[in-house]
Point group: C2
Chain length 295, copies 2
């Protein structure tokens, strides 16, 4: 399949839906602007595309799950805004643009993040968004997304990350950190799309294995890009992990072993899809993309 | 009815449920500690008690809605932690105790707030918590809570508050500020309890009017207490609104008119309950309590 055409089409759908998602006039203007600034700052849109590809894998389509794709990107964006704050990673550049607090100030950046997080659940729980979905399934989806986002997931991962910074980690502790900080939201993106499109229990189990594997592969690729990437393409500083005293796969197991591990995870992720037909080809192509990407 | 006995019994139920709500070992220790610190820092527990009283008003009971009561207090606590941050109101004392960021640092305080917000939705969407509730009702409840919390509700209210600080407000703009910042979460607390216990459309409409009126009365009482209250009982500095350049009801319409307006709102709230029998007596007593309280 032609992945770059696939990505281009899905990204266009997602961008359009993201643009339409904030400003309905009932949000205070400066808050809406701060939320939209980071939401519309580009990026790969990996999580929303995984929502769509997860739905397609089980016979669904993008239109069915587009609000969920938007909600997942809102949650991802919330985490980026808060991670960049002076009290956290203190980053002033993200995707080549000044970070939210640099433009809107710390208070508005904190609230823009809070607003995106709460709004994501309002989007999920808007019955008009998923007219054909059994509400019991929708409740399950919301539960899984909330857990992947909260203290047992991404928010917990940020704490693990802060506490690990400055201390040499083992591969096992690094894997735990990444599973929390990025892995769970990636897995739940695939599962959300699949569940909303009617996935069976067995399909969800296979897609969870797929998500966990590409989630970790994605993070190892990130670690590699932080050393070998092109600053202009990445839109952020190279070597920032090392400068911040963060352990990464290349520093813990070496560059060659990291590349080998990422490739092995991709193969394992694709193996997890063995019971799926062509409908899972986008997921297969995306698995290779997460390690082959240049940004 | 004996309100102080009622409050004591319901507060005990809520405190016990709050204590049990965080530490299941899957949350990183310091994050769990920071979340629990603010969640267990006492307070009136007004929102969870309104959830319970809302359920009771339509023939339900506390046990049916206790997880929702916990979730609403998590959301309220998230907002307090973030409001107190140096970049926001920069408060070092809350309920007589050092604020979250004073104890755990800014980064952990931001994440403790984020964690409580996400966890609240995980609690709501845990199907085991509401076995007898139609999932479609649960989705509606989650939607309303998310909207009352997010950019169209409390988070938006905090932005309106920041922008209003230092500028003289009219009564109308003050009312809009308070409706967003505190009113919507108070109303949604009553409605959440009622809906989960099977409220009809007409009951929800009456309880919404009740909630909107006591929400505003509560905030006017807060403004009055900030001037006339006892620092020791309040657990925070007196006159902090004026010191921060915030418009309040007493500064905008005068102290006597503020007290009159609060009392009138309480009577209006109680009138809204005219179609309810004795089961709404706790709500009636709570309406008087929100303006008669000393803290």
């Amino acid at each position: 399949m032609n992945l770059s055409l696939y990505l281009k089409e899905r990204q266009a759908l997602v961008e359009e839906a993201l643009c339409a998602s904030i400003g309905d006039g009932r949000v205070p203007a400066k808050l809406a602007e701060a939320m939209a600034y980071s939401l519309n700052a580009g990026g790969k849109r990996l999580r929303p595309i995984l929502v769509i590809a997860g739905a397609e894998a089980v016979g669904g389509n993008a239109a069915q799950v587009l609000p969920a794709a938007v909600a997942l990107e809102m949650i991802h964006t919330f985490s980026l805004i808060h991670d960049d704050l002076p009290a956290m990673d203190d980053d002033s550049l993200r995707r080549g643009k000044p970070t939210n607090h640099v433009v809107y100030g710390e208070a508005h950046a904190i609230l823009a993040g809070d607003g995106l997080l709460a709004e994501a659940f309002a989007v999920f729980a808007d019955a008009a968004h998923f007219p054909d979905v059994d509400p019991a399934i929708l409740v399950r989806v919301i539960h899984d997304v909330a857990q992947a986002t909260g203290p047992r997931g991404m928010t917990g991962g940020q704490v693990i990350d802060m506490e690990a910074t400055g201390t040499a980690q083992t591969e096992a502790t690094l894997e735990r950190l990444h599973a929390h900080k990025t892995g769970r939201l990636i897995t739940v993106s695939v599962i959300t799309g699949a569940r909303l499109a009617g996935a069976t229990h067995n399909q969800c189990a296979a897609l969870t294995r797929y998500g966990d594997d590409i989630g970790l592969a994605f993070q190892i690729a990130d670690d590699i890009l932080d050393i070998e990437g092109n600053q202009e393409e990445l839109g952020k500083d190279i070597g920032s992990d090392a400068a911040q005293g963060k352990s990464t796969y290349p520093t813990v197991i070496g560059m060659a072993a990291s590349k080998k591990r990422a490739r092995a995870l991709v193969e394992k992720a694709i193996d997890a899809l063995s019971t799926f037909e062509d409908s899972a080809d986008p997921l297969r192509a995306l698995a290779r993309y997460v390690v082959d990407r240049k940004k």
